[in-house]
């Protein structure tokens, strides 16, 4: 018996010392140093590159400053981590700065108000940002985020394919969806290529079309606006028509979507302007693309040719021990540095910093896009995007509506499907 105890004790001690030893080797980054900030983000080529440049700029006047960037892989991972940490109450495991998708900002604030820091009374000048964009991180009149990248919608087309069908980019500018459907059918006939692709089951196109007409899935009082939303019915009708025609095809996932135009199978795409980076990844298509605005919905008085999709903002967390430093960092870089926005413009990063519109860099022609000054075009678009009520239940509503659309595609009656969707969102909201 003694032998057993002894053996077990040895094993346990050996095992725990092994674990403890390896545990101490990898400690988290010590953020108690007053001149260092840790930031969590995703996409090193886009967001990461911008942060790095911002750090460089700030270091010029503050040489002892250091920024540690930790790439989380993608937004979903960051959201999962944020949720886990915030709900476990161990807020000090959070970094100083977080990048948050605009659509998720309200949700995260509502769920974990203690994570966020009020930045309204810092030296960040919020008047320099597009108000439609800043609105995402304003809750109860207070600013909790620093607006970052622009999600203004662009419609990119392969001009060579359009030409084969006898069209130019102007034929697709400032048009309505019925005109688009007609012309897209011609392009499909003459060239065999669809003009649009979307990710099945999670189509951003629906939301883009809704916002272009200033419509939202929520009323101003926060209740869901689905089954009685006239604009939504028009949107669904248009979307299904293009799928039927074959002028829009569905891809099974994100990679499928990006590959559809990178491989040349599809001759156009419509989404947030950040897609420009991906489009330019297909180097063999250089000089064959042009961008323009999106079509507007027919028969809707508030319809426009402009919308928004995506975009994110920076938030300073409660784990930040030096909020003044963080605020000053933002004020000096994202809040006022033309140099920053000019430098990262090449990566396709466009901010919502209003003075950028006058930047000379922004009006430079882009060779990939046939010489168009895409950045000033996009900044112009951004100014015309209708503002809408996003709300915290964005993802819940979006999934419900996409489900309804899929059901309608399989033959369900639109009114019933949308009633189902509204019921689902009401259920999610606890009503």
């Amino acid at each position: 018996m003694k032998k057993i105890l002894f053996t077990l004790a040895c094993i346990t001690i050996a095992a725990s010392s092994l674990l403890m030893a390896s545990g101490q080797k990898e400690a988290t980054v010590d953020t108690s140093k007053s001149d260092e900030l840790v930031v969590w983000l995703w996409d090193m080529g886009f967001n990461g590159a911008t942060m790095q440049k911002a750090a460089e700029i700030y270091k010029e006047d503050h040489p002892e400053f250091n920024l540690v960037i930790e790439d989380q892989g993608d937004w979903n991972t960051l959201q999962t981590k944020l949720t886990t940490i915030a709900s476990s109450g161990k807020l000090d495991s959070l970094p100083d700065i977080l990048l948050i998708q605009d659509n998720a900002f309200q949700k995260n604030y509502m769920s974990f108000p203690e994570v966020f820091t009020d930045l309204s009374n810092t030296n960040i000048d919020y008047t320099q940002f597009a108000s439609g964009k800043t609105g995402y991180s304003v809750i109860d009149g207070k600013n909790y985020g620093v607006p970052f990248d622009n999600g203004a919608v662009i419609f990119g087309y392969r001009t060579d394919i359009l030409a084969k069908a006898g069209y130019t980019i102007d034929d697709f500018t400032d048009i309505t969806w019925s005109q688009w459907l007609k012309q897209a059918r011609v392009v499909l006939e003459k060239t065999g290529k669809p003009l649009l692709s979307a990710q099945a089951g999670s189509s951003d196109i629906i939301n883009m079309m809704l916002q272009s007409a200033g419509a939202s899935l929520f009323n101003t009082d926060g209740s869901p606006n689905i089954v009685n939303n006239d604009v939504l019915y028009k949107v669904a009708e248009t979307y299904m028509q293009m799928l039927d025609d074959g002028t829009c095809i569905e891809a099974t996932d994100w990679s499928g979507y990006t590959n559809s135009f990178s491989s040349g199978a599809v001759a156009g795409t419509m989404t947030g302007c950040w897609i420009a980076a991906t489009i330019q990844g297909a180097t063999d298509q250089a000089g064959k693309w042009k961008i323009t605005n999106m079509p507007s919905l027919d028969g809707i008085p508030t319809a426009t040719n402009y919308s928004n999709n995506g975009g994110s903002s920076w938030a300073v967390t409660s784990a930040c021990k030096n909020v003044d430093l963080a605020a000053d960092f933002f004020a000096m870089t994202f809040g006022s540095s033309m140099e920053l926005y000019d430098a990262v413009a090449q990566n396709g990063v466009l901010g919502t910093y209003l003075p950028s519109a006058n930047s000379s860099v922004y009006s430079q022609p882009n060779e990939f896009f046939s010489g168009q000054p895409i950045m000033s075009i996009i900044t112009e678009f951004a100014g015309k995007v209708p503002a809408i009520e996003g709300g915290a239940y964005y993802y819940d509503a979006r999934d419900a509506v996409c489900t309804a659309i899929t059901q309608i595609q399989s033959g369900a009656v639109a009114k019933e499907a949308f009633q189902d969707a509204q019921d689902t969102v009401n259920f999610m909201m606890g009503n």
Partner: protein, 279 residues
């Protein structure tokens, strides 16, 4: 005796039927095809992969260069190996002796306790992830190997594997060993382990695989870039603006390789039975 010998001779001239071999080969083809596609993809350019080629290309070296350039491949391989290795050793240690204990020394109480322990694996991980994180964080084990490994060492599954296996362990051997004066732990170490190499091999294979492929928990608990594991690396390759399928599939190949090596090493134990040792 002689009757048996004659029958043995006739038996050895029989071979497995064509039907059996066909069935086996079809099963193998179905199992392997998707992976064959993947290996081919690892040697091709992304464009070719998407167009669905089945011919090996010459892009392997380029894919490798891109892989090394855009990710921390060898660090991730080492990390995954470290996590999986530690997990396997500790798991086997703790659970084999527990499973043996639950079966060989069974009584009403231990049986009930065992059934109760089974509950631990029946809850979706998403539900316990947050309280677990809380606990691990409280003990300062965030971003550490210990934090990753501790929750996964003792699993009802592994305990059950050894328990069920111990059921087939003949009690006569145990009794004989006791008469010979061997202590209980001695029986476990000197008799059970050597004769049950097959189930240990199976356990090593499976536990290592689980540790290697584990994605959700390390994703949450590992904070720094240095502690990246292979599944995290592969996921990272998919979330960029443009997915290079050639590079992606090459990373998958790297991910599978250690598993194959382990399985290969454990191969011979799968046919070692208990019969040899009785005789």
């Amino acid at each position: 005796m002689s009757v048996i010998n004659i029958n043995k001779k006739t038996k050895s001239t029989q071979s497995l039927g064509v039907g059996t071999y066909t069935f086996l080969i079809v099963a193998v083809i179905l199992s392997v095809f998707p992976l064959f596609w993947m290996v081919i993809a690892a040697t091709n350019k992304s464009v070719d992969v998407i167009s669905g080629t089945l011919i090996p290309g010459s892009n392997l070296a380029t894919n490798y260069k891109n892989l090394i350039g855009s990710t921390n491949l060898w660090q991730a391989m080492w990390n995954s190996f470290k996590y999986a290795g530690i997990m396997t050793v500790l798991s086997l240690l703790v659970c084999s002796i527990a499973g043996y204990g639950f079966e060989i020394y069974h009584d009403k109480h231990k049986d009930r306790l065992f059934s109760f322990l089974l509950l631990a694996m029946m809850i979706p991980f998403a539900a316990v992830m947050i309280p677990l994180y809380q606990m691990v964080s409280e003990y300062g084990l965030l971003n550490s190997t210990a934090g990753f490994v501790l929750p996964t060492i003792s699993t009802p599954f592994l305990i059950m594997l050894f328990r069920q296996n111990s059921r087939s362990f003949p009690h006569e051997i145990i009794d004989a060993a006791r008469i010979d004066g061997l202590s209980e732990i001695g029986i476990f170490i000197r008799i059970y382990i050597p004769t049950q190499k097959a189930v240990f091999a199976a356990a090593v294979t499976v536990v290592f695989m689980n540790g290697w492929n584990n994605y959700l928990w390390p994703k949450i608990i590992m904070q720094s870039n240095d502690s990246i594991s292979m599944p995290m690396l592969i996921a990272g390759l998919q979330s960029g603006y443009v997915t290079d399928y050639g590079v992606l599939m090459l990373s998958v190949l790297f991910c599978i390789l250690p598993m194959l090596i382990i399985f290969f090493a454990m191969q011979r134990y799968f046919t070692q039975g208990i019969t040899g040792s009785i005789k």
